[in-house]
């Protein structure tokens, strides 16, 4: 546990020192969402109908953007080699990196989402389901993302390969995340959809660290 906190602490410190890089993800999220009203017209009914999908798809793409350097920086400067020869379990390294990724990429998206719900003129009763949906969904996106990141660590066309692997796996989270908002906008309860998202989170937390640990070991073979 100490090792996990140590790695997270270091990654957060680096993220703070490289604030501009961290803000890029949040900036991408906000700017991309804000482009849609210009692209599809400001018709209130239209934005309201597709707003949840716009925010969720952009959140997915923003998460993908931040996955590129997740392990590649550590591989480049030799930190990963030393971690893999240290007493710290690979599983713990993967958990720590996933949590660091979520704290620096997923959490800012959750914090910004109410502003974007308002900017897309969505009903006020969709703010809470958007926040809860992203709170349950973004850790899963990070978990799945880390599998893609470790699988493609030394791949030649990493920039193309990683999205091809990860994006199909993101689809169920996208569907239920958008569903939470749409259901609440129709004044129905989305509790069951939250349970499904929670189920995805539990499954991903069980399987993804194991898969990523195996992929990480294999990347050095």
């Amino acid at each position: 546990m100490n090792a996990i906190l140590t790695i997270i602490n270091r990654d957060l410190r680096i993220s703070f020192l490289h604030r501009a890089d961290s803000l890029l993800v949040a900036g991408f999220f906000v700017i991309t969402v804000m482009l849609f009203p210009f692209g599809i017209g400001p018709e209130p009914g239209l934005l309201e109908r597709v707003g949840a999908g716009i925010i969720w798809v952009t959140a997915l793409l923003a998460t993908l953007l931040s996955l590129n350097h997740l392990f590649s920086e550590d591989e480049r400067d030799g930190t990963l080699e030393l971690l893999l020869t240290s007493p710290v379990e690979i599983y713990s390294i993967v958990i720590a990196k996933t949590l660091s990724h979520w704290l620096t990429s997923g959490l800012p998206l959750i914090i910004l989402s109410p502003l974007l719900v308002a900017a897309l003129q969505m009903p006020s009763n969709t703010i809470l389901p958007m926040i809860i949906g992203l709170l349950l969904g973004t850790p899963t996106l990070s978990m799945i993302g880390i599998v893609g990141s470790t699988l493609t660590l030394n791949a030649r066309l990493r920039g193309i390969l990683m999205p091809l692997i990860i994006l199909p796996l993101y689809i169920p989270i996208l569907i239920f995340g958008v569903g939470c908002v749409d259901v609440e906008s129709m004044n129905f309860s989305s509790d069951r959809l939250y349970m499904v998202l929670l189920g995805f989170l539990i499954i991903s937390f069980t399987l993804c660290p194991w898969a990523a640990s195996t992929a990480l070991k294999m990347s050095f073979e």
């Binding site: 090792a3 270091r10 680096i14 080699e81 030393l82 020869t85 240290s86 007493p87």
Partner: protein, 205 residues
């Protein structure tokens, strides 16, 4: 000097072969080094020196053959590769502190760890601003954290000037005198007491 490490420390390899990107680069390497002994690996570029050291450090599995080491705890090995293991965005002190916590070593302070490699004046400097030689010394300081008995060093003299090479040799000699084990690769002549030397040229496939 009193022995710090167990008298049963050893690093053994039997019929070891190693591969890189699916290609076997060397085969049939066997050796035994015990406490206080030093293994030097020499050979041309691409002969598998780094691959052999990575296998000894436990970073990768051998293609075939066996390795045995004692003590068997994962905290008994320190590895220094071609890359520094340091984050450019952090200061030397922050980097060393990180590795102290990772290795679970709270007894040695950052100052104690870095004094041996003359890093006192750069502790609060961002690593990215330092020269290759200073970074190399900092990455070697990581090896000394926690007094692990087995040191695996890949080209430890790279980027070091004569004065710092002497400094490093002094540290390694102290480590050997305490009963530690060192396995390293280098193109340079060494003043260290080499117990076993492996010329990769003889084992390259």
């Amino acid at each position: 000097m009193s022995k710090e490490f167990t008298s049963e420390s050893h690093l053994k390899a039997y019929n070891l072969s190693g591969s890189r990107s699916g290609q076997i680069v060397f085969s049939n390497i066997s050796f035994t080094i015990r406490e206080g002994q030093c293994l030097k690996i020499i050979g041309p570029n691409g002969s598998g020196k780094s691959t052999l050291l990575s296998i000894l450090a436990g970073l990768i599995k051998p293609h075939s053959g066996n390795i045995s080491r004692s003590p068997i705890e994962t905290n008994s090995i320190r590895y220094s590769g071609h890359k520094s293991g340091l984050k450019d965005a952090l200061t030397i002190k922050e980097n060393i502190n990180f590795w102290r916590k990772i290795y679970g070593c709270n007894s040695d302070s950052v100052e104690e760890v870095t004094t041996n490699l003359s890093l006192q004046n750069v502790l609060n400097t961002y690593t990215g601003l330092l020269s290759a030689g200073v970074k190399k010394r900092a990455s070697l300081a990581i090896v000394t954290i926690g007094h692990a008995p087995i040191w695996i060093l890949d080209e430890p003299y790279a980027s070091l000037d004569k004065e710092n090479i002497k400094l490093l040799d002094g540290l390694i000699n102290i480590h050997l005198n305490k009963g530690g084990i060192v396995a390293f690769s280098s193109h340079q002549e060494s003043q260290l007491p080499i117990t076993t030397s492996i010329d990769m040229h003889q084992y390259t496939v």
